[in-house]
Amino acid sequence: MTEETVVEKKKKTFFHHDSKLYRDEHRAALLMIVLPVIGFTIFTLLPLIYSIFASFTNWNGLGEMTFTGWRNFQLMMKDNYFWQTLGNTFYLMLGIPIGLILSFLLASALSRGLKGTTFFRVVYYIPVISSLAAIAIMWQWAYNGDYGLVNQVLALVGIKGPNWLQNVHTVKPAIIAMSVWKGLGYSMLLYLAAIQSVPKSFYEAADLDGANAFQKFKNITWPMCRPVTFFLIITNVIGGSQIFTEINIMTPTGGPEYSSATIVWYIWQKAFKNFQMGYASAMSMILGILIFIITALQFYVNRKSDYKLS
């Protein structure tokens, strides 16, 4: 509604003030945005349309594309690897709630204004900025059964750790732990900013009403952090659904019995190793639709959210 009226108003100004001044401004404005618009068209919009089309074809990337209707999607339904890699991708997302809880607790600890807050913020943020490829290589070695860091630390408390990445049962938890470790600093930073932006008067009012620490947490801090929690869940789910780098580096063959292969890894494998471009496109469409639904949900809930942090 409001958007329409804005457009209407624009139109009016456009036609009524058709002076040289306005025409100049329109031309300059258009010139300034033309590059991103072209870039979007060539590198996002057209490939997306092409991808939708390709997902209904049998295509090896070189030869003719033969239209096969819904066949790729039917094959997908029967493809155990598709379901397994999709399942693995969701399994790996278990790290998201763990990471959020840990980062919220850390942010609460840091929000007390203790000395050294800046120092801890930097320390916790170092894994976030570190190259994922380098980090994945490092953790691959750290998870080594005999000489890796993880098992050496566990040995200190008398636990004999497995060969993490070679074991069907431990490979996914190992990757989750690494992801939590890498992403903790980012969520913590956002939570810290949110907690610090809560007006002091809220807590003072709660003190006057005799609220205890838990009540203050439940009724003030946590609700005020809700937009950040939602933002983090969405961005983490979008990022998590595209997890690839650490999988390809730490478990180049998709892990024991494909137990760490993710959907993007499988798409990449199908497209660029087996040259089943049509089938891979179809899978990438499913992934795109899943992500689109999640993102649309974010916009919807964000609009409905009562809390606005500034």
């Binding site: 945005i33 570190s130 490092m138 690839f244």
Partner: protein, 288 residues
Amino acid sequence: MAKSKNTQQKVKRQSTGANILIYIILILGGIIMVGPLIWMVSTSLKDKMGVFQLPPQWIPNPIRWDAYKRLFSLSEMYAGFKNTIIVSFTVTIIGSITSSVAAFSFAKLRLPFKNTIFLILLIALMVPYPAVMIPQFMIFSKIGWVDTLKPLIVPGLFGNITMIFFLKQYLQSVPDSVIESAKIDGAGYTKIFTSIIFPLIRPAVAAQFILWFMGAWNDYLAPLIYLNSPEKQTLQVVIANLSATYATQTDYPLIMAMSFVALLPVLIIFLIFQKQIIESIALSGTKG
């Protein structure tokens, strides 16, 4: 009176106790955060046999620079650094200019259907890279750009929607009157942008630039798809490939040295600009 003073002291004592506990937790957490990275550096300073020593040494004795010497004799590493520097600087410098100019137009200039165009551009934020990577690859392979750095550079030159979005938000706080009065003084749009807008948004541009630079430096999937020959590959792909090669020879000092060198430039940038980076991220998150 005396009673309330007593409770106050008690509360204070309690919070000192809590603070000590919090410090212990934070320090333990900090060790977990940087411990693996320190271990990585420590491993890189051992010799090939030293890494298999039990119990492990945290401070290698003797310290061996051998891995780094071997590392810098590998031509792939030089090529990797060179290619990554070319890609990440070209993309972020030109792309930031494109994005700032576009953000200025979207935020401050009159153009019919401007908001509709902006909303359509935002679609790009919802499209995951894997959904467009196959057609993009086909386009670039048709024009013979596979195994060159162009597919990694060219799309970025057209600007970055995330950056446009944040700069537009930032510009909204600049009053229109500033621009109107410059216009009355007879300044052209180029002049308005370079002498008024850009100085105003410079901190936001710098923060977004650094974030984008770190992203470009650390990119892995796109370079992996496009680059085949070792002398064309970017640093991240180079270290991933070399790591796979040298793992079979159990040359872990070399692998760790490689990984450390690959993440060092961004780490240094982060440590220098940590204040700006951290503030800008906190801001972008709460605004998003």
